[in-house]
Symmetry: C2
Subunit: 256 residues, 2 copies
């Protein structure tokens, strides 16, 4: 079986199976992206989470939360109010931890080139910890990940270690992060639409020389509607963390 046929078989099998997540369905804020990707022959999604605020009850004396074992005291994909969190915190027996987990998405890609295009979309939408995995049989997956989390221990052996005022303060921050996360998802969707449109134009023309270069030539021909998105999306893939002066970095020459 050739690679394309094999990819189609994987996709059909994957999309026909039941959603095995606790929730059992794709999160509302991720649906548009998931549907858009699955409508393309070169992609299919294998997992997604739109972003959520979680309160986990870790095992007693277990600082390392094992998601499978721990109890979820609260989970919401919407902004969270203090009262709900306080009620959930009262149920903690172990070491409760509040987490904000941003958007995460795994997309299987037909070829490395498809993963590269999607990776550029992810990076330029603010998902700087995204990266490609290439398995030993050539299975190519792009993971879309953000740096934009929060992980705050709140109780120890069932005892709350902070004040209600702090919980309120913290939820404000978590809710702001959720808002910013939503903006990035919207940006990802716009950038993705734009990249797919560019691809369609490219593919309808002659041989592809460089999946990234064609954009500049096309820019002036495209509708003004895409202008802002184009400018936002058109940065090149870069070495993340390279602009953090705290990381030991060697800067590359500009001409590579």
């Amino acid at each position: 079986m050739d690679r394309s046929a094999e990819f189609r078989r994987w996709k059909a099998q994957c999309l026909s199976r039941a959603d095995l997540s606790r929730k059992g369905s794709v999160d509302e804020d991720a649906v548009e992206i998931v549907q858009l990707l699955n409508a393309q022959e070169q992609f299919f999604t294998t997992s997604s989470c739109a972003g959520r605020i979680l309160l986990l009850d870790g095992g007693i004396n277990g600082f390392e939360v094992q998601k499978k074992q721990c109890c979820w005291l609260l989970v919401t994909h919407k902004p969270c109010v203090k009262e709900d969190m306080i009620v959930a915190l009262r149920k903690a027996n172990g070491d409760a931890i509040l987490k904000f987990e941003p958007f995460v998405l795994h997309v299987q890609c037909r070829q490395l080139r498809d993963a590269q295009i999607l990776h550029a979309v992810a990076i330029n939408s603010g998902f700087r910890n995204s990266g490609i995995t290439v398995g030993k049989r050539g299975k190519t997956i792009l993971a879309v990940r953000s740096t934009h989390g929060l992980e705050v221990p709140l109780s120890h052996n069932g005892k709350l270690m902070v004040t209600e005022e702090y919980v309120d303060f913290l939820l404000n921050i978590a809710n702001q992060k959720m808002e910013e996360n939503k903006k990035r998802i919207e940006r990802f969707y716009s950038c993705l639409q734009h990249a797919l449109k560019r691809e369609t134009i490219t593919n309808s023309q002659t041989e592809i020389k460089d999946p990234f270069d064609t954009h500049k030539k096309k820019r002036n021909q495209e509708k003004s509607h895409y202008k802002r998105i184009t400018e936002d999306c058109d940065k090149e893939l870069e070495n993340d963390d390279a602009d953090d002066p705290g990381i030991n970095v060697t800067i590359f020459p500009e001409d590579y």
Copy 2:
């Protein structure tokens, strides 16, 4: 210039440049790995941080910390004691945030195949958020990243929002995470040594058919010293987060 020559030129240029990080040198706990990688013709490191506890003073009303703009009130690559943190917290004018940032490493790789091998080493050492970036000119970088962080807002407009007891509790957790991080670095080093050894054996033999498959055939021939490490390191690259029941997941058939 062919790809190998170009890679050698990049490597020479990169390694001859000054370390532009605030610290100006490679962190002690990352030195062995950095040296081992840079001694291989197929790799060179472009940035690294062994892991650190940070106290950042974010801008007033700025929940999103911009690393370049914010002030570092404290940074340590060793376990941190409460007294040092309290002194640093007193200097905060804005929204101070305590972070534990685990080991991070960027490695430029000669070929995708080299990045795949290093990626497997990273995943199997516990760095599950690792991923490959392939730039438009073929520049291939593996980012080694962990899921194992901590991000805790502690003060607001210069006012401490938690008790000293909580700071102590939090530092215990941060220090435990640093300990676990160190174990993962050691595991990464062992797995890397093992993978490089296996590569050398493979390359000295006939044509390479599969960079991963050869291991099983070799396993029985290798020294008992490597046995445990082999078992630890021999898992396949997997779709991270796929074991988290909270993420919308479709499970793949076993035979792909």
